[in-house]
């Protein structure tokens, strides 16, 4: 849908939309957008429309792809980048209009250039997102909820699965589609002989300031080395001096309760 809008954009509105889309890409990609622009210069027309199509696909919510819809999406994404995008759009809007080179320069070039210009301040805002190696585990636990590791969920589901044949005889009994998918997922995630022993081992990390979410992650990942733990759960690095020893011990004990497959 975006493609269409862009192809016949003779109106100012269409222009803004494309600028928006362009800067949106940038916002998604972060500062690495420079090489994107380069490739776009080379393959002028097709790459643009393809790109738009891709953006479209990534967020079907903005399928309407009017300027408004995409700005809505952005505002949902991040306030800061939205603000900078706003200014970005303004500049990009004015630049080609004033110079009048929009028609002869080709839309791609312009869109890329203007978008890049506009998003300069925004690139810095998005920068932290690219170093997402440091991305921390953010967990919101709903009320009355308890965290389960893959293996624990797997055991419960397995039990239900065993009764499923009898249950399925009753046509009224429906299983949510997630059930089978999760069961399948947990099957290849099942690392341990039984979940209780794994849980018992991992619980010992609690006194060392490792939170429930992190414990759950370690259990799910079933890492082999301490380096792997720190690489995947960067939040643990802050207390490295304190938790490195205990984690090492826990990994050793976990290895003992691993299933042999």
């Amino acid at each position: 849908m975006v493609e269409k809008g862009d192809k016949n954009f003779s109106s100012d509105k269409g222009k803004t939309a494309s600028k928006l889309a362009a800067s949106k890409e940038e916002s998604l990609k972060g500062k690495d957008s420079a090489p994107v622009n380069k490739t776009r210069h080379i393959q002028v027309d097709s790459s643009d429309s393809e790109y738009e199509g891709f953006v479209d696909e990534r967020s079907p919510a903005s399928a309407k792809a009017s300027g408004k819809a995409s700005s809505d999406l952005k505002s949902g994404k991040k306030k800061v980048s939205f603000e900078s995008l706003k200014t970005g759009r303004k500049t990009s809007f004015e630049t080609p209009a004033a110079k009048g080179d929009w028609g002869k320069g080709g839309k791609d070039f312009n869109a890329g250039k203007a978008g890049g210009k506009g998003s300069l301040p925004q690139a810095t805002a998005v920068k932290p997102r690219l170093t997402e190696i440091e991305l921390k585990l953010e967990l919101e636990l709903p009320k009355n909820a308890r965290l389960l590791m893959d293996c624990e969920a797997a055991e419960i589901l397995q039990e239900i699965e065993e009764h499923k044949t009898i249950l399925s005889e009753d046509p009224k009994v429906k299983f949510p589609e997630s059930f089978n998918k999760v069961l399948q997922y947990t099957k290849f995630g099942g690392h341990y002989i039984n979940s209780q022993s794994a849980r018992k081992v991992l619980e010992t990390l609690k006194i060392n300031g490792v939170n429930d979410g992190e414990i759950c992650m370690i259990g799910n990942i079933c890492p082999e080395t301490v380096e792997e733990v720190y690489a995947l759960l960067p939040s643990l690095k802050a207390n490295k001096h304190k938790n490195e020893g205990p984690i090492r011990e826990v990994l050793a004990s976990l290895a003992k309760v691993k299933s042999s497959k």
């Binding site: 998604l28 990609k29 972060g30 690495d32 790109y51 891709f54 990534r58 079907p60 919510a61 949902g76 690219l130 170093t131 997402e132 190696i133 991305l135 921390k136 585990l137 953010e138 967990l139 919101e140 636990l141 709903p142 009355n144 909820a145 308890r146 965290l147 389960l148 590791m149 893959d150 624990e152 969920a153 419960i156 589901l157 239900i160 009753d170 009224k172 009994v173 429906k174 299983f175 949510p176 589609e177 997630s178 059930f179 999760v182 997922y185 947990t186 290849f188 995630g189 979410g213 759950c216 992650m217 799910n220 990942i221 890492p223 380096e227 792997e228 690489a231 995947l232 759960l233 939040s235």
Partner: protein, 176 residues
């Protein structure tokens, strides 16, 4: 994958013909209704994907609906749900390869996008079956199992599902 074991309170509407024998049959009817609700609702923003009902904890006083004769029971029950979390490590299989990234599937989460920009040194290689290759000839193709990190997620009310953005930036991430 992050699972929750949650206790919830819902109201269940039981039709009169399921009420004939009190006791276990009523409980069965309630559980069947809950499972049906799970199948219909699929997921919620707060709890994530509904996976299974594990136990029925209590059934409150039923209220009879005047017109239909249905009885509305407030019930509390435990269930398992699965919700994506930012920063968690997941495994997924490659669904579709595009120039700008890869679509992955992981358990109930079916729309996970891994943009090319977050794939470190992997480069798109076009062809009949496009793949992503890196310098060490590690390959991402259809059905490859990938370990990735969740960069962010969004609840889509219309589709009643979550949309995820993944990344491979970091050690120990990639095809396994």
């Amino acid at each position: 994958m992050v699972f929750f074991e949650v206790e919830m309170q819902w109201n269940v509407l039981i039709s009169p013909n399921e009420l004939d024998a009190k006791g276990l049959l009523l409980q069965k009817a309630i559980i069947v209704h809950l499972m049906e609700e799970f199948a219909n609702r699929k997921a919620s923003k707060e709890h994530g994907y509904y996976v299974a009902v594990t136990s029925l904890n209590s059934v409150g006083e039923g209220k009879v609906r005047g017109l239909t004769g249905d009885v509305l029971f407030p019930v509390t029950f435990s269930c398992i749900t699965q919700k994506p979390a930012k920063g968690e490590i997941l495994q997924g299989s490659v669904e579709k390869i595009l120039k700008h990234g890869i679509f992955l599937k992981s358990g109930p989460m079916e729309s996970i996008f891994l943009p090319e920009k977050t794939m470190k040194d992997y480069r798109y290689v076009a062809g009949e079956n496009p793949v992503f290759l890196n310098d060490k000839h590690s390959k991402l193709e259809k059905d490859t199992i990938v370990r990735f990190k969740v960069l962010g997620f969004k609840w889509l009310e219309y589709d009643r599902q979550f949309q995820l953005l993944a990344t491979l930036a970091g050690d120990f991430l990639g095809p396994i």
